[in-house]
Structure formats: structure tokens, C-alpha cells
């Protein structure tokens, strides 16, 4: 929505502040702006300004909040999708992302999920590359599960230090 009518109000209000003597702006322009946002409501909310305006204010408050929430939800979805795509090739999401960034392949979660959906073969090659890189660097050995219930002197000493 583009509200050109709001400039009529703003300009006159600005002159009222600075100069002091100026006729008040016409209410029609402000109200017409609100009515354009009230079209989706039902009954008196749609047609009466004093009833519909608070609804518009609340809707605008929600919309400003949701700009941040949308980014959060999209990130959650990408992590979930990328985790699923990584599981298909037997690699963890953190391992993949870390090894790709270390190898100067700057791909984020969004791009990787798009690749996994629309170009599964190219994603597979990235996953195999990351796996081989981890094996060469010795990271995969460090990430292997350790045996529980076995205590040695060396382990205790390392923890205390």
C-alpha cells in the first residue's frame, strides 16, 4: 500500500510546529488512509473510523513484531531441513557448515537447503567433500563416541588441569 495522502498531513503539521500559525490539516486525508487499511474488517469496524482505527493500530503492531519473528521461523525451518538433508548423507549439520566455512565455501543454511531440494547431486558432492575433509583433518576421529564406564588416570588428570 502506498499512502501519498499522508504527506499532506505531515507537511502541514510540520509547519504548525515550526511557524505556529497555520490552519489544521484536513481530517479527510488521514481518515482515508485508515479506511484503506480497514477494508478487511467486518461490520462497524470497517465503516466507522473511531472503531476501526484501534484495530489498525494493533495490526500494525503485530506486523512490526512479525518482521523479527519471520526471520526466526525461517531460520528454524532451514536448520530442520538442512538437518534432514545431512542425515541422508550421514553427516551432522555442524560438521558440514564448519568444514565448508574452513574451506572457503561461503554457503549459508538457506542456500544449502535450496541446493538439497532442487540440486540434490550438488549437495551430495558438498557433503562428501566435507566428510573427506573431516577424515583427513582427524576431526571425525575426535567426534567418534567415547566408551562410557571406563575411567583411567589420564582422563582424570586432564579434567583437573
Amino acid at each position: 500500500m502506498v499512502f501519498l495522502s499522508i504527506f499532506r498531513n505531515v507537511s502541514t503539521m510540520y509547519t504548525r510546529k515550526t511557524v505556529g500559525r497555520c490552519p489544521k490539516p484536513d481530517k479527510y486525508w488521514k481518515r482515508s488512509m485508515y479506511f484503506r487499511m480497514m477494508w478487511k474488517y467486518y461490520g462497524r469496524r470497517q465503516h466507522i473510523y473511531s472503531i476501526g482505527a484501534p484495530m489498525v493500530h494493533r495490526a500494525l503492531r503485530y506486523s512490526t513484531k512479525s518482521t523479527q519473528l519471520k526471520k526466526k521461523y525461517m531460520r528454524e525451518m532451514w536448520t530442520m531441513r538442512l538437518g534432514a538433508a545431512c542425515n541422508q548423507h550421514g553427516i551432522e549439520e555442524d560438521e558440514l557448515l564448519s568444514s565448508l566455512t574452513e574451506a572457503n565455501i561461503p554457503l549459508n543454511r538457506k542456500v544449502l537447503t535450496d541446493l538439497s531440494i532442487y540440486e540434490p547431486r550438488s549437495f551430495q558432492s558438498l557433503a562428501t567433500f566435507a566428510k573427506q575433509r573431516n577424515e583427513q583433518s582427524g576431526l571425525s576421529d575426535a567426534l567418534k563416541p567415547t566408551f562410557t564406564g571406563i575411567l583411567t588416570h589420564g582422563h582424570d588428570g586432564d579434567k583437573k588441569k
Partner: protein
């Protein structure tokens, strides 16, 4: 481009998975199965797109629980009327219906919304490994078990037991007498 269209169909198809619940924790395995039912194992997942798969769980009668969970874990129910509260321990519920523990574990794991009943319809539970051929024909792959099934003493042969390395042999004074098995006791009575 006809080939690409067919690839898309195969992405959207519902595949069938097999899961063997023998000696597996019900709650931990439910966490894994529910992902397959909802379609969270696919990179095209979205909560509103209905892309979940079917899961056939066999041997739910032999499902396992940790520590004293069979005795201590309880399932409660309220009818809504006065005095309508009832509670049953896990072993008692398992006696009544051997698929109920697995069903409830999966049901509680899924978010409570209008999609849940339809998701649960894709879960097929069988107490034994006797699955109808109609269902068995659909299965394409199996889900990996969450924990390694431990080998019991009965599974080892006598030769393996004798050859097991020992640091020293206990003197006969220290050894406890073997318990008589119930089958032997019955033979003595008769």
C-alpha cells in the same frame, strides 16, 4: 523434461518404513519414528505440507524400558465426570494391549493440533512380526534401531562360555549354589 516431472512424483510419494522394536526403549524410539511420520526426515519439510511417511513397527510386545519404569511409570486418564480418574502402571497397560505403550509414546511426542490424528493413522503397530502381506509388500526400507540389542547368556554356546578369559578361578567355598529352575521343580513334583 518429462523425467524431471517423474522425479518430483517420487519425492512426494509416501514411502513405507519398517522398525523393529525388540529390546528398544519406547520413548527414545518414538522420538525417531515421529520424525518419519511427520516428514521431518525430508529436506522439503513444512508443517502444512502433508508429506509424512508410513511406519510399520513390529515386535512392540518386546519393547524395553529403563530401570523400574515398567513398575513406576503410570498412564492416567480422566473421563471428565466426578470420580472418573483412573491410573494404570506401564506393565499393566502393556498386559492389556501390547501396542498401547508404543502408540501413546508416539502420540504424546507429536504436537497437539488437527494434523495429529491423520499423522497417527500412518503408524502401523504389530505385537509380533506377523504382518499382513498387503502391508509388507509396500515396505521399501527400514529405520535403524536406536540402541544395540545386548547378547544374552543363552545366546552364547557352551564352548564360548568355557573359553571366556578368567583372571582366576573362584574356590568352591566362595561360590553360591545355583538356583533351581522352575521347570526342574515341576518335574520333581510329578
Amino acid at each position: 523434461m518429462a523425467y524431471n516431472r517423474v522425479l518430483q512424483w517420487s519425492v512426494m510419494t509416501r514411502s513405507w518404513w519398517l522398525y523393529d522394536a525388540e529390546n528398544q526403549c519406547a520413548f527414545k524410539s518414538a522420538r525417531k519414528i515421529v520424525n518419519y511420520l511427520q516428514g521431518k526426515h525430508k529436506p522439503i519439510y513444512h508443517p502444512l505440507s502433508d508429506i509424512g511417511d508410513h511406519v510399520v513397527v513390529i515386535n512392540t510386545k518386546l519393547v524395553a524400558m529403563r530401570d523400574d519404569r515398567w513398575r513406576k511409570f503410570t498412564y492416567s486418564h480422566h473421563t471428565g465426570y466426578a470420580g472418573g480418574f483412573s491410573r494404570a502402571s506401564a506393565w499393566r497397560l502393556h498386559d492389556m494391549d501390547p501396542t498401547k505403550v508404543m502408540h501413546k509414546a508416539c502420540y504424546q511426542r507429536i504436537k497437539g493440533n488437527l494434523l495429529r490424528p491423520n499423522i497417527m493413522r500412518r503408524l502401523h503397530l504389530f505385537p509380533d512380526d506377523n504382518v499382513p502381506d498387503e502391508i509388507m509388500a509396500n515396505i521399501s526400507d527400514q529405520i535403524q534401531q536406536i540402541q544395540i540389542v545386548p547378547k544374552q547368556l543363552e545366546d552364547y554356546s557352551q564352548l564360548e562360555r568355557d573359553n571366556f578369559p578368567q583372571i582366576f578361578e573362584w574356590p568352591e567355598k566362595e561360590m553360591m549354589p545355583k538356583k533351581k529352575q522352575p521347570e526342574l521343580l515341576q518335574t520333581e513334583d510329578t
